[in-house]
Amino acid sequence: MNKALLIGSRNCVPYLSMDAAEKALPGILGCAVDACDETEHGNLNYGKIKDYGMIVFMPASWRETGSAASAQAVFRYVLHGGNLLIAGNGLDMGNAQELKVITACVHQGSSYYTELDLEPAGRMAESCDRITVRTVPHFVKPDVFKQSEVFMTFRYGNAEYPALFAHTWSKGKAACLTVDLTTESIGALVPAIKAAVDFFESGQVAK
């Protein structure tokens, strides 16, 4: 991967800040990572982002800081072959239907900071260990049309929820990590991020 883009927020509650991801992602992804904070959320266009090998999307409040034009830009990025990892609060996209269809899920809300066990599933079941992490879980249900492959799950209450899932979307790919990437959680979540990258690059999922 040549270069990645991180879309996040700085002027937000500390645990949703992009700072930790900005520091950690170059080492995790093995490439340079440009940062786009909320001052630029509304100014994205396809021309600016089309050459990134991957976009990590984790803004704290896209419904306030994003724009329709930026949502269209990211939609076109995936449509034409881009790779989009949506993490944690990035799943709360407000009215940005152009982005919501790409997630292939319906975001149902989140809960409080807690300790979660992310269990590998499907193709990751043999190649990855359980990840125990303290973070904020987000709850999603699958889209009625677009099927995803689930790679990790977590239990909350009496129910099981997808923690990491991925799918192709037209000529591109998308993966969703349904827990927040924070200073505390990002280290533990490296295997999940790398699994998403593997899926983007090869369609495979390895430890």
Binding site: Q72, F75, E98, V101, F145, S170
Partner: protein, 231 residues
């Protein structure tokens, strides 16, 4: 100056014969707003440039079956829409055959009861397409569709449950299939602004006779004008 329309359907015999009068009715409905530059049964080789020659792409029972989401034609269609194109899907929501277009257009075919007489109701939400549209009855084949939950669709036409009474006018009396929705409407037409583009799905219109109904014609003309950004 009229806008340019592209109309695609399946020309062969089948459940929705297009060339037996449906074609003429569709053209006449939209002809105040559009010149029909091309009417064809083939669209799978269209490039994005080809699509952008038209202000509106119209599909009536068009052969989307067998296409894949990563095909050029599907990517071109989605790019056309999100960058400002207009699309109307008439009767058969065949775009539902592909997950990506099912998501963006907003639905996929689920099932339909036998051809029957129904009362269609405008959604009453003040959308400009519904200007002057009153409830009307139509003998037609009304499709029940799965719908995409995450879209910002505006419902246009719906059918209300009639408390499960059988339709006496149908060739085969049957329990209203919508009885399961028990008081809820069934989405039969909607519109959406997706990216910079505009989308309409309109189920009513199984045959030429249906397209002669004055209120349906008025409704579809309004759809055409909205897609052309006249209203």
């Amino acid at each position: 100056m009229k806008k340019k329309a592209f109309l695609c359907s399946s020309f062969g015999p089948g459940f929705h014969p297009f060339l037996t009068g449906t074609d003429k009715e569709i053209v006449s409905i939209f002809s105040n707003t559009y010149d029909f530059v091309k009417i064809t049964d083939s669209f799978k080789d269209m490039t994005l440039s080809d699509m952008k020659e038209y202000d509106c792409l119209m599909f009536y029972s068009a052969p989307f079956w067998g296409l894949k989401g990563d095909s050029d034609i599907v990517a071109n269609l989605l790019e056309y829409i999100v960058t400002g194109g207009s699309v109307i899907i008439l009767h058969i929501i065949s775009t539902g055959a592909i997950p990506e277009t099912a998501q963006v257009i907003g639905g996929a075919f689920r099932m339909h009861p036998p051809f029957n007489r129904y009362r269609l109701e405008p959604a009453g939400n003040g959308h400009p397409i519904l200007e002057g549209i009153e409830p009307f009855e139509l003998e037609d084949e009304m499709h029940q569709v799965y719908t995409e939950e995450v879209l910002n669709r505006t419902l246009l036409l719906t059918i209300k449950n009639d408390n499960g009474r059988p339709h006496e006018t149908g060739p085969v009396p049957h329990q209203d299939i919508y009885a399961k929705n028990s008081g809820n409407g069934v989405d039969l037409a909607w519109c959406n602004e997706f990216g910079e583009g505009r989308i309409v799905y309109a189920c009513p219109g199984h045959n030429a006779e249906d397209y002669r109904h004055p209120m349906l014609r008025k409704f579809l003309r309004n759809c055409g004008r909205w897609l052309a950004r006249e209203i």
